[in-house]
């Protein structure tokens, strides 16, 4: 894969071909699994992701980088997230690692060797912010 961004998975012995899974698909799986974790406010995808979202496109792989090993059996995932204020970052990161690993391994059969989480900021939940503003 790695060179063309597509992972080729051999089917079982009786299969008549291969299945190709694009890196983008793995990134989307990882992104969706990560955003479902409690304490994740958003993914941080830089300028391109931000522009895509402003144009109305849901960028599900925003903030996700996938590297597949040359043997096409293992992968590393890097996620850049914005954490919700008040949550313990190590706990959120651990939950993300478990969720992403389970989702990718369950859906693609790839072995996930590492899920690296980069916390780039904290955000306050809009409801909490509104409550605080009302108090003031």
């Amino acid at each position: 894969m790695a060179s063309d961004g597509v992972l080729r998975t051999d089917l079982d012995e009786n299969s008549v071909g291969t299945t190709q899974i694009a890196n983008e698909v793995i990134a989307v799986i990882a992104g969706m699994a990560a955003t479902e974790v409690s304490g994740v406010s958003d993914m941080s995808g830089g300028i391109v992701g931000g522009i895509a979202e402003r144009l109305g496109r849901k960028h599900l792989s925003k903030g996700v980088k996938v590297e597949v090993a040359p043997d096409e059996r293992k992968c590393n995932v890097e996620l850049s997230i914005i954490c919700e204020y008040g949550f313990r970052i190590p706990d959120v990161a651990r939950a993300i690692q478990e969720s992403v690993k389970e989702a990718i391994e369950g859906m693609t059969g790839l072995e996930v060797t590492a899920v690296n989480v980069h916390v780039l900021g904290v955000a306050i939940h809009p409801e909490v912010r509104a409550l605080e503003e009302n108090k003031e």
């Binding site: 313990r88 970052i89 690993k101 989480v117 980069h118 904290v122």
Partner: protein, 172 residues
């Protein structure tokens, strides 16, 4: 972004806006602008060169700013399933948020250094006229607890520096 850079951005934005406005008026053949341009070009161009030089210096400064984002990137912690990188800015935001919740702290700047014993957080505060010692202690407690609880990083010290009293106190 440091306060100095914020001021540079303002100067850059102001000069760029004036320049673009001037150019647009010239394109629209707005006669005072056309006459001024003709006069400036014919008489003295020294200050024009000065303005262009300032804009050029600021542009280069911001190109360099984007290419070299600073030595502090993140605090890395190895875990079983991979590592966590907690961005320097994240820790600053946590400290900022904790400080702003303290009564009396109005405008806040946060600086974070690293020492062998852990993080050293320097909180610079423009305060309301309140009991400053009590406010300082509360900030130290709140910042230390927030960072420890949210990131598990070790805090060596939280230094609070009240540099001025804010002119317009806000109720908290």
């Amino acid at each position: 972004m440091y306060p100095f850079d914020r001021w540079l951005v303002r100067v850059y934005g102001f000069l760029t806006a004036i320049g673009i406005l001037w150019w647009m008026l010239w394109l629209l053949h707005f006669s005072p602008v056309v006459q001024w341009n003709a006069y400036l070009v014919s008489q003295q161009t020294g200050w024009l060169w000065l303005g262009l030089a300032v804009i050029l210096v600021l542009s280069v400064r911001y190109l360099a700013f984007r290419l070299h984002p600073g030595k502090h990137h993140a605090f890395v912690r190895e875990m079983e399933g991979g590592h966590i990188r907690i961005g320097h800015q994240t820790v600053k935001e946590i400290a900022m948020r904790a400080t702003k919740q303290i009564r009396g702290a109005q405008r806040v700047q946060i600086k974070i250094d690293e020492s062998a014993q852990g993080l050293v957080v320097i909180v610079t505060v423009y305060a309301d006229p309140v009991d400053l010692n009590a406010m300082g202690e509360e900030i130290q407690r709140a910042v230390g607890n927030s960072i420890r609880e949210m990131t598990s990083l070790t805090i060596a010290a939280v230094h609070v520096s009240v540099i001025d009293l804010a002119p317009d106190p806000v109720q908290k």
